[in-house]
Amino acid sequence: MITEGQVAHFNTFGFLLLKQAFSSTEMAAITREYESFIEIGEENPIQAEKGVRSISAFVERSPQLTELAIDDRIYGTIEQLLEPGFIWSGSEGQRGRSFASWHADRPGKEELFFTRIKVHLYLDPTTKETGALRVIPGSQRSPYHDSLQPLHHYHDKQGHEKTADNPHPFVLEGPEIPGYAIESNPGDIVFFNQSVMHAVYGRLVNQRRYIAFKFADRPTTERHIESIKKWSEYALHPEENFLNSANPRIRNMVEGLVELA
């Protein structure tokens, strides 16, 4: 159960860090399970080109990792941050990424009405200079979000390269943009609103492995459904083992999604 202050932290800044929520023994077991599955499955080809191994529907492959999705420390926290009836929106297993320029996963003013949260469970330490997730606190809301769009456009247009006719927004290199690095150690849980502007910079000093869990407010309007179809169509087609799960928490999250599709 998180505190009122922690809820305010998430609502105000668009992210929350729960330090040492999992013990080292638990993390050892989670890491073992991660390693059993990260080499299996079809990786994302775009990420693979960058030397990053990214496997979608990762958590769903393992009963042990699925337990994390309904663990009080993750599910219970999400329950406090999203509206009742929130949905499951998939998962990822990732390894090797230490660079992503500033962007929002769900960018644009028209996306801010619909909260989606990504949860990162890092299996290796991250620091500002070694791949910690950097965020621009508060950028999940307008008009701040809108005024940061030049960063996002840069990311989209240039594929991470600066050109003479497209100088860096705010005349700063990406790592100099005034963001906040969410430095973490294994056992910490990072929650962030997918409309918050974020980036990753620095050297890859370890494998920078993490498991990502995604959740969203339940779509109740046409606009919500359109947005899901635009960004995460897969959320409307949960994995069979989730659809057939007898666990009440998983059932709650996936119920009715197929019908929406």
């Binding site: 998180i2 505190t3 202050g5 922690q6 305010a8 932290h9 609502n11 105000t12 800044f13 992210f15 965020v135 621009i136 606190p137 508060g138 950028s139 809301r141 008009p143 701040y144 005024s147 940061l148 030049p150 100088p167 860096h168 927004p169 705010f170 005349v171 700063l172 005034p178 963001g179 906040y180």
Partner: protein, 268 residues
């Protein structure tokens, strides 16, 4: 002359750093004048425990330092950020403070319509761990500003009432130094400019010098609300120092004429 990108940086994030705008030789001269002035002041430290020496007004007392107010690197930057008709808001000299919990100098939604800028010229290096100004970028605008005001004030009063240390930032489940922010680390020669509605704090470090000169400016006060806000927060701007009032320097005169105009409106 700052660039459009730097203007956008200030407007978006609420602050700007101009790195190494003054040379080491210039900083040496400025520091000499600062030390002479601050050491000549009879006023005792404002807070014995923290050993802070705070002198107001400051640059108005020394012709050499007065030049900073009309120097292109400061005046010219302010002109771009505040537009024509901006006014002088006074100056400070400070030595010693290395801790201030989260606050905005001009807090509340009602203040955001009227931009005031504080310029810090640090005479000693500051780092995140030692006395650098930390800011919450973008907090000079709604809705982030109001979310911070509401939550910080709620907890500030609650904790004060129970006799606890009033660390306002416990409002977010983290201590003051843990608040998600950006440290404006600087070395002598840098100019730090920030919107006074931006949330800021200072943490860390004692026993070392942390000297700075602050220069304050406000946009052209054109409405009764502007004047009322100046009256509320900085009544002293209506009584500029004689040396500024009588100055023949065009830039100083421009800034003071705005003040006098505002004062006359206030009197009426």
């Amino acid at each position: 002359m700052i660039s459009d990108g730097q203007c956008a940086h200030f407007k978006t994030f609420g602050f700007l750093i101009l790195k190494q705008a003054f040379s080491p030789e210039e900083m040496e001269a400025i520091t000499r004048d600062f030390d002479l002035l601050i050491n000549a002041e009879k006023s005792p430290p404002s807070d014995d425990e923290k050993q802070v020496k705070h002198v107001v007004p400051f640059i108005e007392k020394k012709p050499q330092l007065m030049k900073l107010a009309e120097d292109d690197r400061i005046y010219g930057t302010i002109e771009r950020l505040l537009g024509p008709g901006f006014i002088w808001g006074g100056s400070e000299g400070q030595d010693g403070r290395a801790s201030a919990d989260w606050h905005a100098d001009r807090p509340g939604e009602d203040e955001l319509f009227f931009t005031r800028i504080k310029v810090h010229l640090y005479l000693d290096a500051t780092t995140e761990a030692f006395g650098a100004l930390r800011v919450i970028p973008g907090s000079h605008r709604m809705p982030l500003h109001e979310l911070l005001v509401t939550q910080l004030l709620k907890y500030y009063f609650k904790e004060s009432a129970t006799g606890d240390v009033p660390i306002a930032s416990n409002a977010f489940g983290v201590t003051g130094p843990e608040m998600p922010s950006f440290a404006l680390e600087s070395t002598p020669g840098d100019i730090v400019l920030f919107n006074q509605s931006l949330f800021h704090a200072v943490y860390g470090g004692t026993g070392k010098q942390r000297r700075y000169i602050a220069l304050k400016f406000a946009e052209n006060p054109t409405t009764e609300k502007h004047i009322a806000s100046l009256e509320k927060w900085t009544k002293y701007v209506f009584q500029p120092e004689e040396v500024f009032l009588n100055s023949k320097r065009p830039r100083i005169r421009n800034m003071i004429e705005g003040v006098v105009g505002a004062r006359d409106k206030n009197v009426k």
